[in-house]
Symmetry: C2
Subunit: 171 residues, 2 copies
C-alpha cells in the first residue's frame, strides 16, 4: 500500500483550491475516493456541483456564507471546530483515499483551532491516506511535517484591474 | 459577455496542470465547455478519463509517449505544430468557453514553434474565450500579455526523497 503523503498548497497566488480540485478529479478518474472539506467557506461555489459528476467525491463546507475579514465570530469558531472534529474522524477511519482540508491554513491563521490539534489529526490518520492542506499562511509546523509544499506566488492578477470573481472561473 | 482572460501557471512547483484540471472541473460544473490540449505529453494520464465524467470537457494530446529530455525529434515538432494549428482553429471558432494549453510553455522552451505564433493565436481568439497556459519557463512575451500569472514555487518535494509519480495523484 502507498504511504499517504501530506501536500501543502500555500502562498498569495491563485490556484491553491483549484489545484486541490484538479487533484481530486485526477484521483476520482483513477478510482480513488476523495473527501473535500472546505474550512472558512460557506458560499455556493460551482465546484459544489462536482459531487453530481464525480463518483467517490464528497464535499462539505465548515464555514459561513462570507469570508472572515476581521475578528472571527463564535459561529466561525464553532463551525470550524465541528469541521476539525469530523475531519479527524474521517482521517482516522481511513475510508477515503484522499482528504482535502481546503483553507485550513486560514482557519489556523485566525486561530479557530490550534496547530497542535491539526498536527495530531494528521499524525493519527489511517495508513495510506493522502492529505492536501491549502490556504495562505501555512504555519511552520505544517510545512515541517509536509512531504510536498508548493507556494503559489502571485506575479500578476487581474483582480488588481478591478475584475471581480466570475462564476465557473474563480467561484 | 465576459471578456476572456489569459491565465498563466508557471514555475518549478507542483500544481500547474492540476490547477488547470481543477479550473476545468469548476467550469464544467458551471455549465461551461472546456477544450484541454496537452502539448509535449502523450502518456496515459488518469485525467484522460475525465472526459467520461464531465459533460462539455474535451481533451487531446499533442505529444509522444515520453517527455523530451534532449533535443526534440521531427515527430515532436510535427505533433506540436499540429496541436498549434488545431488550437488556433478552436480558439478562433470560439466554440469552447475555456481552452487550456497545457505545457505549451515547454513546447516554446524547446522551440517546437515560435512565441510569435502563440501570441498571434491568442490575439486572434474569439471574444470571451478564456485561455489557460501552463508549463515552466513561461516566456516574457506570454507573461506580458497575460491577465493573471501564478508562479508555482517548489518549497519541498517528495520526489527528492525518491518517490516516483503515483497513479491518480501525480499522473
Amino acid at each position: 500500500m502507498d504511504k499517504g503523503y501530506i501536500q501543502v498548497y500555500t502562498g498569495n497566488g491563485k490556484g491553491k483550491t483549484t489545484a486541490a480540485l484538479g487533484l481530486s478529479l485526477r484521483a476520482v478518474c483513477a478510482g480513488k475516493s476523495v473527501y473535500f472539506a472546505q474550512f472558512i467557506k460557506g458560499m455556493k461555489y460551482s465546484e459544489l456541483d462536482a459531487v453530481r459528476f464525480l463518483k467517490g467525491f464528497t464535499m462539505k463546507q465548515y464555514g459561513r456564507n462570507c469570508f472572515i475579514y476581521n475578528q472571527p465570530t463564535d459561529e466561525d469558531i464553532s463551525l470550524a471546530r465541528h469541521g476539525l472534529a469530523e475531519c479527524t474522524e474521517i482521517l482516522s477511519a481511513g475510508e477515503y483515499d484522499i482528504v482535502v482540508l481546503d483553507e485550513i491554513n486560514i482557519a489556523l491563521y485566525y486561530k479557530l483551532f490550534a496547530v497542535d490539534e491539526v498536527v495530531k489529526m494528521l499524525n493519527d490518520r489511517a495508513e495510506g491516506v493522502e492529505v492536501i492542506l491549502t490556504g495562505r499562511y501555512a504555519p511552520a509546523e505544517i510545512i515541517e511535517m509536509a512531504d510536498l509544499v508548493t507556494e503559489m506566488k502571485e506575479i500578476k492578477h487581474y483582480y488588481t484591474k478591478g475584475v471581480t470573481a466570475r462564476v465557473g472561473i474563480e467561484s
